[in-house]
């Protein structure tokens, strides 16, 4: 059924004013000189008080970055990024002498997070969730740290882990995403500023959700997040990240590297609710989100599960992947990507089957409205060693209006004749009769579309941790408000 004219009008009406996280805060900050060069890399390392080996690592990455070409496979259309036009380090001034307790944090920063609905004062913390908060380039606060450390769990800013757990960092950093993987990975390795570090010791089941909240505040700033999660034998952890940014006319840059390592019988569940500023309704501004996320199932029976709800950013370029090395290991990817107005998303996953009896499952739901473009790009690769490997992939696209696009690009490379690979894909338009039915039962246009889209995404949303599932459902509805008439 074709969308009515009213639908299209309403889509066009939808503006960025609906982005409720678009405020900026007046926080005095220390910045690196604008631009990208070796001096800036040294500046960042010095600000972080890093040991010599870390600086060497960064400088090596920077020289690799200079040699690599920008990846160009994605179906995305945006002007060439001028890497010299960004600031690569920005930290609130008050963080220079790091506060020893949460009481010492600049009240302006606390206010920022209160507005975002993320209370970082310990006593107000959402029960059962430990939070690390990253503003621009530095980590502001980590809660529940003491309680976790009693179990031997390390949950801290990665800059702190470099100081305090150098052996783990040296062993694992860059072991899943090699510095030379592609130019954004190399760039991140050279200039990453903060992110979270998680280590779960053997036989420990992390009792709370670990969560990091990223916020870009300073103007023209790139945020280079680096996260490393290691789950030792027989351990379990569930981790969630959330992201927002102020509304600015310039495009801001976010290039993250996230590495997960699961050893024998370990399980890592990684959930993302990405709501970076998407730009206005004419496509001006918004975050360029170039993210490399990769997990290695190194041990036998290990499992890594990615769940993502991608609703923000002008450009999303992101392929959370699993390397299934250990025998019987499992990889999962559940994704909802919503693009509206002029947003573009090219997202999917890679499942690399190496071990015997490895299995992977991919469920991707793409929703497009306005003039947006939404591409699923995925690779399922079965190595000769992966006897009895199995994959199931399902990609569903939902279109709202006549000006948007959805594309599905699945690559399957199987080098083992015993492998079972299944792929299903559907594309549908939002059905105006369904909308009418819901409205006849008293639901408004927006409520009806929210209900139908949430139904469409249910298979994915139900994999989010309980505390965040409700938030995500609301977000899905809000991001499409006014998109159907």
């Amino acid at each position: 059924m074709v969308a009515s004219e009213q639908t299209i009008k309403q889509v066009n009406k939808l503006g960025s004013s609906d982005y409720k996280y678009g405020f900026s805060s007046d926080i005095e900050s220390i910045q690196a000189p604008k631009g990208l060069n070796e001096e800036v890399v040294r500046f960042i390392s010095k600000q972080k008080n890093e040991p010599e080996w870390m600086l060497e690592w960064r400088l090596k990455a920077f020289s690799v970055f200079n040699k690599l070409k920008k990846p160009d496979w994605a179906k995305l259309n945006f002007p060439e990024i001028d890497f010299q036009d960004y600031y690569y380090y920005s930290a609130p001034k008050s963080m220079k002498d790091k506060p020893k307790s949460l009481d010492e944090i600049d009240p302006e920063i606390l206010k920022t997070y209160e507005k975002l609905g993320i209370p970082i004062q310990e006593q107000k913390i959402l029960s059962g969730v430990a939070v690390d908060v990253v503003l621009d380039s530095v980590s502001i606060a980590t809660t529940y740290k003491k309680q976790l450390s009693e179990l031997g769990i390390i949950f801290c800013p990665i800059s702190e882990a470099i100081q305090e757990h150098p052996d783990l960092i040296k062993k694992y950093l860059g072991s899943v995403i090699p510095v030379s993987d592609h130019s954004f990975a190399a760039l991140n390795s050279a200039v990453f500023t903060d992110g979270s570090f998680v280590y779960i010791p053997e036989n420990v089941r992390c009792p709370v959700e670990l969560s990091t909240y990223f916020r870009i505040n300073a103007i023209n700033t790139g945020q280079f997040e680096r996260t490393l999660i290691i789950a030792n034998k027989n351990s379990y952890v569930s981790y969630l990240e959330g992201c927002t940014a102020p509304m600015r006319d310039e495009n801001q840059l976010h290039a993250a590297n996230v590495e997960l390592i699961a050893l024998d019988n370990a399980e890592i569940k990684y959930s993302t609710v990405q709501n970076w500023y998407p730009g206005d309704k004419e496509g001006k501004g918004g975050i360029y989100n170039f993210v490399t996320k990769r997990g290695a199932c190194r041990g036998v029976n290990s499992k890594i599960s990615w769940t993502q709800v991608e609703t923000g950013s002008a450009i999303t370029w992101k392929y959370p992947s699993c390397i299934l090395q250990g025998d019987n290991s499992k990889g999962e990817f559940y994704s909802v990507a919503i693009t509206n107005n002029f947003q573009q998303a090219d997202t999917g996953t890679k499942m690399i089957h190496i071990g015997k009896n490895t299995s992977s499952k991919i469920i991707s739901k793409g929703i497009s409205a306005g003039n947006a473009s939404n591409t699923y790009r995925g690779l399922v690769k079965i190595q000769p060693s992966a006897t009895n490997a199995r994959n199931f992939t399902q990609c569903d696209s939902l279109l709202i209006g006549n000006e948007c696009g959805a594309h599905t690009v699945p690559y399957i490379e199987s080098s083992n004749s015993g492998a079972q690979v299944e792929h299903e894909a559907t594309t549908s338009k939002i059905n105006e009769d369904q909308l009418f039915y819901c409205q006849q039962r008293g639901l408004s246009n927006d409520e009806a579309i929210g209900l139908i889209v949430n139904g469409f995404c249910k298979e994915v949303l139900q994999h989010l941790p309980m505390e965040f599932a409700v938030e995500a459902q609301k977000l899905v509805s809000i991001n499409l408000e006014g998109s159907v008439g």
Partner: protein
Amino acid sequence: MLNINNLKASIGDKDILKGVSLSINKGEVHALMGPNGSGKSTLAYVLSGKDKYEVNEGTVDFKGKNLLNMNVEERANNGLFLAFQYPMEIPGVQTSFFLRTAINAKRKFNNLPELDALEFAKLLKLKAQELNINSDMLKRDLNVDYSGGEKKKQEILQLSMLNPDLAILDETDSGLDIDALRIVSEGVNKARNKENSFLVITHYQRLLNYIKPDFVHIIADGKIVKSGDYSLALELEDQGYEKMAKA
């Protein structure tokens, strides 16, 4: 309750309703009968506000308000309910969740507090039992993989949960076997009271054996050509539409 005066409506270039006038009072059940293409379902859609129909002339007064000025959900929340001939499937949305969302949308519109989970569950259990609907069905996605009979029962369940002032039943009897027809009709009869009204649209007199109307109207070529009491339905069954429409 409802006053339709000289209503004319078209879809694209095609005129379908060519001057329908009809009055329904509180507590009355009216049956609207007519052959295919006579405008029966169009009248149901125009009254509920479906946007592909254009109203060219006439007025519709519903509970003292101008119905044609309201959008679809305002009509619904003001107490107009349409039981669909082809209820829509909504994958991923549990039937009970949909019902709760609908009830609370109406309550919110009327400045009433939302029903909490417990109150809702109680009400749903009661109403579902009356219609012989088992609780498994309520856990499934709305209308997905429902049989024709289940879909219609579900419509009547929604009707009895939402308790509208005016319910329009659009060929609710189509696709029902005798048992399902009886259950659905009993559901409607239970929902009937002195305060509400029904407009029952049907091809066949059969349904009216179960839901006894106070008035019967025959529509042909976009106009009501004859009105009478229940005996008109029997006469129609006996003589056929062609003869009656001409008479």
